[in-house]
């Protein structure tokens, strides 16, 4: 894809006029081309100004209540676990932490034995819970694959796939989709995510966490899938960028 062709596409992409395949192709290109990305950004900013043609209405007051209630419910205090979001301790914080730690040690020593025993018990309980969850997940995955109405497709690798390969399974009755991949390169700072696109546009389905051998699996809920065809991607996200590089692509068709 050359830049001249991209210039023709960015204006269409900015108003959502490209097909899903064209859009994914363009996005993959601009991920590596700063000039084209700037052009796309400008087109999208222009398109956003079209929104001003909308007659302005006051948002209903109950909308604010609903949004804020959800914000409060989801926890407004705990910082997001994002890279770089952690606070750097101030000198006062470090001083307080030092004396606080010493006081805590003096208080806890007489109770150390009792607390240690409680900790061991709790650890064992947590291990059992984890094992139970894994068993349930395995059972769910086996059931998904075994159902006769499950649609399965093999991923087609892109030029960036390297050794990555895998399959995707979808069962409309259960409303679940499962991605199983292997050969994902395990690189520092690189994360892998699954995306799908149907009638609702591109949706982030979740993260794939490869093990040492580069294998990973993700099962996600697709009860809202009402269409007959869906495209699924496995993409890599590199540090410092919001753009995803598609590695694997598959098309699912309901039987």
């Amino acid at each position: 894809m050359n830049s001249e062709h991209v210039e023709d596409l960015v204006d269409l992409e900015a108003v959502g006029a490209l097909s899903p395949e064209e859009s994914a192709f363009l996005r993959a290109h601009v991920a590596d081309c700063a000039r084209c990305r700037a052009s796309l950004d400008e087109a999208e900013a222009t398109a956003a100004r079209l929104a001003l043609l909308s007659p302005m209405h006051r948002a209903p007051s109950e909308l604010r209540g609903r949004v804020m209630a959800e914000v409060q419910r989801s926890g407004a205090s705990a910082p997001l676990a994002l890279p770089g979001a952690a606070r750097t301790p101030t000198p006062l914080m470090r001083f307080n932490r030092k004396w606080g730690a010493m006081a805590a040690m003096l208080f806890l020593l007489p109770l150390g034995g009792l607390l240690g025993w409680n900790f061991l018990l709790q650890t064992e309980v947590n291990d059992l819970k984890q094992e139970s969850r894994q068993i349930q997940e395995t059972q769910r995955d086996v059931v998904l694959l075994a159902l006769p109405t499950t649609v399965r497709a093999r991923f087609t690798p892109t030029q960036d796939a390297g050794t990555a390969q895998g399959t995707v399974s979808w069962n409309p009755d259960v409303g679940q989709c499962q991605v199983v991949v292997r050969g994902l390169p395990v690189e520092e700072g690189v994360s892998y995510r699954v995306f799908y696109q149907g009638m609702r546009g591109v949706v982030d389905a979740g993260e794939l966490r490869p093990d040492e051998s580069g294998g990973a699996a993700l099962t996600f809920d697709v009860k809202k899938w009402q269409g007959a065809e869906y495209q699924v991607w496995v993409a890599a996200l590199r540090p410092g960028t919001e753009q995803a590089t598609a590695l694997l692509q598959a098309e699912l068709r309901r039987q």
Binding site: R37, L53, R58, A59, L63, R64
Partner: protein, 194 residues
């Protein structure tokens, strides 16, 4: 970049720190615009509310989805709202197409958020600039562009509705956007509505 744009970016950073007050300030600043865009696309107040709620909760849950290096926050927010609304249209199989001309020639009501008269003036000035730029477009290009942005129809559906080849519709849309970009870049930049 205007003071408002800088403040928007600062508030988004505060949302990363789970500052609910910062989120509330951003909500109060942009809720009317988000809701209005959703309503323009969906033509249904209830659905527009749901869409606006989704947009703001997405902001709360993943504020890092906005990259300041790629443009103004309000442009990103409006794009998310419009795309979400279009997705809703397509998912529901709704093909209600509002006549674009419904909104033309009707005097805009006073800006719904009149707390800051200066901002209201800026909103109106920017709106006039967009309308002026659109008025310079050939009618068929203007129509193709507005249908592409607001109707939720795919290019193929627009082509069928206007009884034109798909390639023609794409060309009209592309040319309209290209001319709009040039025209608006030549306008004296005013701070975006907040």
């Amino acid at each position: 970049m205007s003071d408002t744009d800088s403040d928007d970016e600062y508030l988004v950073q505060r949302i990363v720190e789970r500052d609910a007050d910062a989120f509330a300030r951003l909500y109060d600043r942009h809720a009317d615009l988000v809701y209005s865009v959703a309503l323009r696309v969906l033509a249904d107040p209830s659905l527009a509310q749901d869409t606006a709620q989704d947009v703001f909760l997405r902001l709360w849950r993943t504020p890092a989805a906005y990259d300041p290096a790629r443009g103004r926050f309000v442009s990103w927010l409006v794009s998310v709202a419009r795309n979400r609304a279009v997705d809703e249209v397509r998912m529901r199989g709704r093909r209600r197409v509002r006549e674009i001309g419904e909104d033309v020639g009707v005097e805009d009501p006073p800006d719904a958020r009149a707390e800051d008269p200066q901002l209201a003036v800026q909103v109106q000035a920017d709106r006039i600039a967009v309308r002026r730029a659109l008025a310079q477009l050939p009618e068929d290009q203007r129509l193709a562009l507005e249908l592409a942005y607001f109707s939720g129809l795919t290019q193929q559906e627009i082509a069928e509705r206007l009884q034109q080849p798909l390639g023609t519709i794409k060309t009209r849309t592309r040319l309209a956007m290209r001319k709009l970009r040039v025209a608006l870049s030549a306008e004296v930049e005013t701070p975006y509505p907040v």
